[in-house]
Amino acid sequence: MNCLTKQEVINVIEGKGAASRPPVLYDLWIGENVFGWDARRRAKWLAQYPRDVDDVFLNLPDLIQAPPDAPNYRWCGTDKTKMEEKGWDARILLEDWESEEAEKLFETFPDPEYPGLIPERKPDGERYTLARWWYLLFERHWSIRGMENALTDFYLYPDETHRLYQKLTDFYMRIMERACAEMKIDGFFVSDDLGTQNAPFFSQDIFDEFFKPYYKQIFEKAHELGTHFWLHSCGKIEKFLPSFIELGLDVIHPIQRYTMDERRIAEQFGDQICILAGFDVQQTIPFGTPEDVRKEVRYLLDSYWNDKGRLMLTMGNNSTEDWELDSLQALYEETISYGIEKAAGAHTK
């Protein structure tokens, strides 16, 4: 199926006009787990539908495992064989900011010049192309400190937190430069979950002090490189949207369903930032019927539609094994047919 051109996607992101339908990016979050871990089956199934954006993952450091040719290309500063067998968010790589281990973490920070950073597959640049990685600031912070430590670090270890965030920012800005120099990249798409189902993780004061200065540097670097910056941030993050807009964030994903009011978000912010609407993965996809999926697509398109563009669609988060292909088929079909209808209305005005 025909994909939108790179320029059409750019126009949508920058609010220069809707395309013939909204960009469809569901494939970015539909993994092999939906297809019994069969990569070929996934590729064949997805080939029926538009894939308006190409993506490539940069090879960022692992928490503890370094590649043989770069022993410091890992986040932990000291040798560790495995992570604690605890909850995903309770594993602690660095227990104590006042320890020698902490200093070691800074001294042996991963080298952004590591050659293996750039993946073997180079995108052809025909379509709009994203360079991606997981975990930006807060997510990388808690992956090192454990979630509870990271959240209290804002009060108990502010200097160390600033130091970590600046080191991360410097690292990220350099890898962004390299990605653009070595590949054809139009945007960067990174995750940093800042909200829970009911509220932001932390206050606006914490956001202003610990996040704004670093996001600003990162977003400005993306723009200096002639690219966009896309941020995935789960949870109720409505309070931070004005700051993201002020800082120049180009695309926000997913405006998580059930955490915010879609129509209010569209009214207040829809002209100022491109919304990469995340389709509901908590109720409709795993538990709904194909008809429920179609209704939800229409609701999202009606809520967010903007004649200037500023709307793309994808999944709210990564796929899980309970996703049914019937529902995904309905998702694509309705998005394309109703999306074309919405766009035709815009173009005849």
Partner: protein
């Protein structure tokens, strides 16, 4: 008593060292340890819970307050044991089988402790048998289950099935929560309560405990 109010106020600011010092001072002044606990530490934690629910404070504030509460309780514990202080109730809590997410469950744990419960945290990836075995072992009256994934939330029903199989269903109140969990789902699997946040979970557990006391 000004000192009790001060304990509560410092706890809400997460000032653990001040809380510890003031609890010791209150004990030295001969104040009933139950008053220090209930009107100082737990009252402060309940206040934080209300502010958390109203988005006046956020997770970091809850964490530092809980840390201050724990330090105060540690000072107070020997005295509480002497006077035979009983918790409001006993709760077993965990994240269900197959799910490794921790933080939401931990916040509920903190709020439950702040409400006066003795909480047994089984961690993550907990199977139904372990939930029920632990509840039986410690004499709990409430079982709390958490799930973040749509693929693991069906495992919540297994605890209900296990309780029924052992003829224990009426002995326990089963509470469920987590991002994709809804009141409808709780009803479908036969859980007693769904709550949407940590503060509501503690409030509901408290109501249950007071009703059955």
């Amino acid at each position: 008593m000004a000192i009790i109010e001060e304990i509560s106020a410092y706890l809400q600011k997460g000032r653990a060292k001040n809380v510890k010092t003031l609890v010791q001072q209150a004990m030295d002044e001969g104040i009933d340890p139950k008053v220090i606990l209930n009107d100082g530490l737990l009252a402060g934690m309940m206040e934080i819970g209300i502010k958390f629910k109203n988005e006046e404070v956020f997770v970091p504030d809850v964490l530092v307050a809980a840390r201050a509460m724990n330090m105060g309780i540690a000072v107070l514990e020997p005295k509480l044991a002497e006077v035979g202080n009983e918790p409001l109730g006993r709760v077993v809590i965990g994240t269900v089988k197959g799910d490794l997410h921790d933080i939401g469950k931990n916040l509920v744990n903190m709020m439950l402790r702040g409400a006066g419960f003795e909480v047994y945290d089984l961690g993550v990836d907990v199977d139904a048998k372990t939930f029920v075995d632990k509840a039986e072992e410690v004499g709990a009256s409430i079982i709390c289950q958490s799930a973040l994934l749509t693929t693991t939330m069906p495992n919540m029903e297994e605890v209900i099935t296990e309780l029924k199989a052992r003829g224990l269903r009426d002995k326990y109140v089963v509470m469920v929560g987590g991002a994709p969990v809804t009141a409808k789902f709780a009803e479908e699997i036969g859980a007693d309560y769904y709550t949407e946040d940590a503060t509501s979970a503690a409030e509901t557990a408290k109501k249950v405990a007071l009703k059955t006391a």
